[in-house]
């Protein structure tokens, strides 16, 4: 066990964990965040996605020690029910979910894309979401929500 300092959603946390612990477990257990979720533990589905250094990363295969001191954003950190972030609002507007378990992967992968590519092409969206699964298959609405967010951000 070691003391680790994490910068998550604008707040600093110190946790005492095995440095090899996947970041996901620290976020969901030690910090009790609800956004990143355990989907596969293999980096194949995206349910555990967080943003670190502007990139959407898979927290289930990221050792916590590798992101010490890095600003990490989870789905919890974007907006609130009362004041959702523009991309969260776009998903509400398009009703872009069913069970919602995959939303960290979908929303944060899309946000990381649009933040660096404000006018993403369909191919850009294909690439950014190529490792994100939704088994309720709300794909159509999700992709509409991503385009709506990108358009709103440019406006």
């Amino acid at each position: 066990m070691s003391q680790m300092t994490l910068l998550v959603n604008g707040r600093t946390h110190t946790v005492d964990v095995d440095p090899a612990t996947p970041l996901l477990f620290v976020l969901s257990d030690d910090l009790a965040l609800k956004g990143p979720k355990f989907g596969c533990g293999l980096g194949q589905c995206g349910a555990c996605t967080v943003i670190a250094r502007g990139q959407a990363i898979r927290s289930c295969i990221t050792p916590v020690e590798s992101v010490q001191g890095t600003e990490i954003t989870t789905l919890d950190g974007l907006g609130t029910i009362e004041q959702p972030h523009a991309i969260q609002q776009a998903f509400i507007d398009e009703q872009g979910a069913q069970c919602g378990f995959c939303l960290s992967g979908v929303i944060l992968s899309a946000k990381a894309l649009v933040d660096r590519t404000p006018a993403p092409t369909d191919e850009d969206i294909d690439r950014a979401l190529s490792g994100v699964l939704c088994r309720c298959f709300a794909h159509t609405r999700m992709r509409k929500a991503i385009r709506r967010y990108a358009a709103a951000r440019r406006a």
């Binding site: 964990v17 979720k37 009703q95 069913q98 490792g131 088994r135 298959f137």
Partner: protein
């Protein structure tokens, strides 16, 4: 004073999608006290109210009114991602005339909600939105409130109306009594009144409108509590160690390698169940990986490559005639031509995106289980069996999980958590690994389906003969079979098994179609009661149920997905034999007007190009485009749907790109049009994934499709087809389900579109590129060549197009070469067989306008793949 809510109460609120703060802010203290009493599990109060819903005829089991005129409603049908929370909120708001913001709906908690069995089978709308259960409770409550107000105001009930949570005098709306003043905080002490007047859809203001998902803001902002987020004070973390395969037994657990590992609390063994409990999740993972567990192998699993043959040979089957008019053999003998084909469907998995999770707190004589099960009361009873408790000692709190589609790992992981918690006497959370989720969930059944149909001289179907082989093991645990899922079996319970039975007895109960087996084109007559949707009177439906090497269970459109693939593909083959347009041919054999309507609507919306398939100008190479249609009345009585698929087939690679899925759906009165469309879209794409990619794989030892590399689907980053749904509203019909309709018809619609595009028939799911290429290679030259031979008009068109003739010649050359190499068996090889048992590609070798007798041997003109 603000009453403190117990953890249970908070959890129940959380499961209802509410924050404690929001709940307290919006409620009077009396409300909170009332709600807290219910939520905190004051079981005496609860049972006195008859809430243990097998006898939930008491209005108080369903609805309560608070002092400030809020409505608390209780339902046994849960939100699984399908939008049912919002739809039920709309129902309550509509029937009771209260704003949505004043309704609190608690779903699926055995301490407080009625027993409505399982949320499954697209049955939630039929159960709760017709003249029964939740809808009837709300109507009964509204009627009671009007009567109370009539007394209070000394006005006849007929002169009163309801709105905004109050009863008012219709002529002078200022004379009003809020609901809370009439009964707030007290019980109705009434039974549901079967005659209570429900609102007609024409009066609807909330139902029937596209109310956005009420839970979505909490979902997109990560505020909604899933079962994966439940944290209980003192909670430990568990991990299970599964055997290699069904039938394996535990030989030895050696804990020497894990002794002293950080966080280890206990190694738990119960019969063949093995698990570890640790302080932290990562510790539990590390310990489970290091733990030395050896197993005595069970019986070898039949080889996957030969599994379909194995299924057909398995004689220990339970045989059932769903239909048998008794004259099918005779009708086939008398038919002008007979078409036959065999369809193959693999095991599919639910493959939920989240690995299943549960939290259990088992104490002596008492247990609380937080579970994403679709069946809280059955879970309560079976967990009690597993734990040696009485059902009344167990509370199951439904807490949202990853989308489930039938029975994913949610039930089995609840048992896992319960067993581990009981062993250590502390709350335990278990999160399955992806491998354990995928290797051990209850798969959707594999199927081998033989179809035969006879045509008369006019091209009408005169007989339909279905025979299928399908394996099963376990299933939903129900109220008494914990051995139906892996953990219960490991702990010593046996899966429910059907006794072998051959031959099948004659059908003696009217078609209920709960096996989702009958085709849409037969009359479905048993003992004079005809519940089919079609016109074919000579009908036989025979099923062989064998024992599966894997646990199986209901997967979205259970059995209907597999059977509809076979029925609707076969209908297309028959239409092609009859040289008929697939839409017109379907309509010719459908008697049910609502099913006919969705077929016509889907075709019109898709701008259906009416002509026989395959298209007249099939290219021999390169990209080929086509369209196909399919339809079904789901479960024989629960939702009408038809979908047209448009595809592009790359004949060089064998890849299918579905470009458009256009459909029409009729599920009775529509509660929420956007919710239905969301289900339609998701179902259509889910069906496409199952048709194109999904297949459980195994070796002789174990399941090998255990992650998203070995079990394929498609990502949000994949280009998806345009999906369009036309909703056919039927305000006066009973409510049907809408979650399992679209998915049911997609596979056949795609396969039929591929046939239209290429002339290649796909009879095995999934439609992998290799199978597509094999089907392209096996294309009977007849579909392109004989057609021109016998149809001078089309031949002229083909010649004018300049492309077809050489292509046909090429196809023939390829076929001849393969025949010479022995890879394709000529139809003459089947000559000993009567036409009624002739392989389909031989049967269709000759156009149907050329008479042939049923005793005539298979054609010698064409070839088929071996």
């Amino acid at each position: 004073m603000t009453p403190r809510l117990s953890l249970d109460a908070r959890t129940a609120l959380g499961s209802a999608g509410l924050s404690r703060r929001g709940f307290l802010r919006g409620s009077g203290a009396m409300v909170v006290a009332f709600a807290a009493a219910r939520h905190a599990g004051l079981d005496t109060l609860v049972s006195a109210q008859g809430i243990n819903g097998r006898s939930a005829t008491a209005l108080d089991a369903w609805v309560a009114i608070t002092a400030d005129s809020r409505v608390l409603a209780y339902t046994g049908k849960c939100e699984l991602g399908q939008g049912l929370y919002t739809a039920q909120m709309q129902l309550v708001a509509e029937e009771l005339d209260v704003p949505l913001s004043r309704v609190t709906l608690t779903m699926c908690d055995t301490a407080v909600t009625p027993d409505q069995g399982t949320t499954s089978g697209a049955q939630s709308h039929p159960a709760n939105f017709n003249q029964a259960n939740l809808a009837l409770a709300c109507a009964t409550a509204r009627q009671a409130l009007v009567r109370l107000a009539a007394n209070r105001l000394a006005v006849p009930a007929a002169a009163l109306a309801t709105g905004e949570g109050a009863v008012f005098v219709t002529a002078t709306p200022s004379r009003r009594v809020p609901y809370g003043d009439l009964i707030g905080g007290r019980s109705f002490m009434l039974n549901l009144d079967a005659a209570a007047k429900r609102k007609h859809p024409a009066e609807w203001k909330v139902l029937g409108t596209p109310v956005p998902r009420l839970d979505l803001p909490a979902m997109v902002t990560a505020q909604l509590e899933y079962v994966h987020n439940v944290r209980v004070p003192g909670m430990l973390h568990g991990r299970v160690v599964r055997p290699p395969s069904v039938g394996a037994t535990l030989a030895r657990v050696d804990d020497a390698t894990v002794r002293g590992m950080p966080g280890l609390v206990r190694i738990v063994v119960r019969k063949n169940f093995v698990g570890v409990v640790a302080e932290k999740p990562f510790q539990a993972i590390q310990i489970a990986e290091k733990l030395q567990v050896s197993w005595t192998p069970g019986p070898a699993i039949p080889a996957q490559a030969e599994y379909y043959d194995y299924l057909r040979r398995d004689r220990a089957s339970r045989d059932t005639y769903l239909l048998d008019s008794g004259d099918v053999d005779q009708s086939l003998r008398g038919a002008r031509s007979v078409v036959s084909a065999t369809y193959l469907h693999p095991f599919h998995m639910h493959g939920s995106v989240g690995s299943s999770c549960a939290v259990a707190d088992v104490q002596p004589g008492k247990a609380t289980l937080w579970s994403a099960t679709q069946a809280v009361y059955p879970m309560r009873d079976t967990a009690a069996q597993l734990l040696g408790l009485q059902p009344a000692d167990v509370r199951v709190v439904f807490t949202r999980g990853s989308g489930c589609y039938g029975i994913n790992g949610a039930d089995t992981v609840t048992y896992d958590a319960a067993l581990l918690s009981q062993a250590v006497g502390r709350p335990v959370r278990v999160q399955l690994t992806r491998r354990d989720e995928m290797a051990w969930e209850n798969f959707g059944n594999a199927f081998v389906i033989d179809q035969r149909a006879g045509l008369d001289a006019s091209g009408a179907i005169v007989a339909w003969d279905y025979e299928a082989w399908s394996p099963a093991l376990g299933g939903r645990p129900g109220y008494d079979s914990p051995g139906n899922v892996v953990t219960g079996w490991l702990a010593g319970f046996t899966p429910a098994a059907a006794a072998p039975r051959t031959p099948a007895p004659a059908p003696n109960t009217p078609l209920s179609n709960n096996l989702n087996t009958a085709p849409s084109y037969v009359t479905g007559c048993v003992s004079g009661v005809c519940r089919g949707t079609g016109t074919v009177r000579s009908e036989r439906v025979l099923s062989h149920r064998t024992v599966s090497p894997f646990f199986t269970g209901p997967l979205r459109a259970p059995e209907r997905f597999q059977n509809t693939f076979a029925h609707e593909s076969f209908m297309d083959e028959i239409a092609a034999t009859a040289k008929a347009d697939p839409v017109a041919f379907r309509l010719r054999h459908l008697g049910d007007e609502r099913l006919r309507t969705v077929v016509r609507t889907a075709a019109e919306t898709a701008k259906w190009d009416a002509r026989p398939s395959p298209r007249p100008d099939v290219p021999a190479a390169g990209l080929a485009r086509g369209r196909g249609i399919s339809c079904v009345l789901y479960e024989g009585d629960n939702g009408y749907v038809s979908i047209v698929a448009e595809v592009v087939v790359d004949q060089a690679t064998g890849t299918i790109t579905v470009t458009r899925l256009v459909g029409a759906q009729d599920c009775g009165p529509i509660s929420n049009p956007d919710g239905v469309k969301n289900q339609f879209e998701g179902g259509a794409l889910h069906g496409m994934s199952r048709a194109l990619f999904e297949e459980v794989a195994w070796s002789d030892q174990r399941v090998t499709s255990v992650d998203w590399r070995s079990y394929r689907t498609f990502a949000v980053g994949s280009r998806t087809p345009v999906v369009e749904a036309v909703l056919v509203n039927q305000p006066s019909a009973p409510a049907n389900g809408a979650g399992e309709t679209a998915i049911t018809v997609v596979a056949a619609a795609i396969g039929n579109a591929v046939f239209d595009a290429t002339g290649a028939r796909l009879r095995e799911i999934p439609f992998t590129p290799a199978r597509v290429k094999a089907a392209l290679s096996a294309r009977p030259a007849a579909t392109a060549y004989a057609d021109r031979l016998y149809n001078p008009r089309r031949a002229r068109i083909s010649r004018r197009s300049g492309a077809s003739k050489p292509q046909s010649a090429l196809a023939l050359r390829v076929t001849s070469a393969r025949v010479q190499r022995g890879r394709i068996r000529p139809c003459s090889a089947w000559a000993a067989r009567p036409i009624s048992r002739c392989p389909i590609s031989c049967a269709i070798a000759r156009p149907s306008n050329v008479p042939r007798s049923p005793s005539e041997p298979c054609a010698s003109r064409s070839t088929r793949s071996t």
